[in-house]
């Protein structure tokens, strides 16, 4: 099943739920009309919150750069000994 069809089905189900809420008047009508807007806004702000949280907790590894430089020195030394040209590019 294609992914877009899954998303469409989800949206159709949500719309059906919203229309049924409108018809049966479980909630006050003015509130029900604004429900999709609330949904989109909350989804958007949740996404932004997740971007912010992820940015704060972004994993960094400064020690890896140092280890990499050590590895480069070790590799250059070995390869020079074996006759491979390791002049800088």
């Amino acid at each position: 099943m294609k992914h877009i069809i899954k998303i469409m089905a989800l949206l159709v189900a949500l719309s059906a739920f919203w229309i049924s809420l409108l018809q049966t008047s479980v909630l006050p009508e003015s509130y029900t009309w604004l429900l999709p807007l609330y949904f989109i806004v909350s989804l958007g702000s949740y996404g932004l919150l997740m971007v912010g949280v992820g940015l704060m907790r972004f994993p960094t590894c400064p020690q890896e750069a140092i280890l990499l430089q050590e590895d480069i020195v070790e590799a250059k030394g070995f390869l020079k000994g074996k006759g491979v040209d390791v002049g800088s590019d």
Partner: protein, 323 residues
């Protein structure tokens, strides 16, 4: 901890362009971390110089994975799971069933050096006609390490990453294929953890992820991290891919799986990497993740311009509609 000796051969495909120095360093590091001969005097010295963080976890529950895949196909719980799993620090209780099997999310890890002995591997260098003499360096390396271990399969000019992989795949003799970048942003020290993860779980694809604990990135400024994070959240919301790092290109594939997936991909550049992993996920292949560290190019950070963002969004839409 040692892994069992397995009769598997790993073909490591490295596409290069103007990587005269880096290709030699990469070949040395691959041999350092993979070519550990059992019961030799130099082995203990090699082991002493290797310290690896690995996810030495028990075999994951295949049952949960099968049911998660079934439920994914029905689209029942994917949206909250992938949204929350990739973003929440602590997963809600109701999803911990499916959460626990992701070994890369476990809070406690054993810092055990992971060593594999007698790994049978070959390195396939696909050079796109580099003008700086990369191919001469590879020939010198072949004299040092042997022509059966390092295969040079050049092409006349720059023809694209996807075709480079297909070209390397034609010459691969192993039953597993590893793809990695030649600019030292992918460190070969993670190769044993890829192989070990695949042996433990029997996965078809093992992909390296930079965005989980244990992995990481160095050399990115705040804007770059922001765009990366925003792109990741957007892709997770739209595509529900089942992996945390879509654009990463440090992966281990079963050869048959790579041949199958690569034939159906049409994108270029890093969208190609996204397309491969999303298509593989849609077709139901077992995908596992391993944290890796990514040290960005030391010489001038790679700029992410407006055109690349547009290209990324177009790629996302394309994947949304066609997969």
């Amino acid at each position: 901890m040692e892994a069992k000796e397995e009769k598997n051969k790993y073909s490591i495909i490295v596409p290069t362009y103007n990587e005269r120095l880096n290709i030699a360093l990469i070949v040395y590091l691959i041999f350092k971390h993979l070519h550990i001969v059992a019961n030799s005097a130099s082995a203990t010295a090699q082991l002493a110089s290797i310290t690896l963080h690995t996810q030495c976890t028990p075999r994951s529950a295949c049952l949960f994975r099968k049911w998660k895949h079934k439920l994914l196909c029905l689209g029942i719980l994917v949206f909250p799971t992938s949204f929350l799993r990739s973003t929440f620090p602590v997963s809600p209780v109701v999803f911990c069933f499916f959460y626990a099997k992701r070994s890369s999310d476990l809070p406690f890890r054993a810092h055990v050096p992971c060593v594999l002995r007698n790994v049978n591997f070959e390195i396939i260098v696909v050079d796109d006609g580099s003008p700086d003499g990369t191919q001469e360096i590879v020939k010198q390396l072949q004299k040092v390490y042997g022509e059966d271990r390092i295969l040079l399969r050049p092409r006349p000019k720059k023809l694209g990453l996807g075709t480079a992989y297909m070209h390397g795949l034609k010459h691969a003799n192993g039953n597993f294929v590893v793809i990695m970048d030649a600019d030292l942003s992918h460190h070969p020290k993670y190769l044993p953890s890829f192989i070990k993860k695949q042996l433990e779980t029997g996965a078809s694809i093992v992909t390296g992820t930079r965005y989980v604990k244990g992995g990481g990135v160095h050399g990115w400024n705040l804007m770059r991290k922001l765009t990366s994070r925003g792109a990741n959240v957007l892709a997770q919301t739209l595509l529900w891919p089942g992996v945390s790092d879509l654009t990463g290109s440090f992966r281990l594939y079963k050869k048959s799986v790579l041949e199958d997936v690569i034939s159906s991909c049409v994108s270029k550049g890093y969208v190609f990497q996204m397309e491969m992993i999303v298509r593989a996920s849609r077709q139901g292949y077992h995908i596992e993740e391993v944290p890796i560290t990514f040290v960005d190019r030391v010489y001038g950070s790679s700029k992410l311009g407006g055109s690349e963002i547009v290209e990324y969004l177009k790629g996302l839409l394309y994947l949304l509609v066609t997969t």
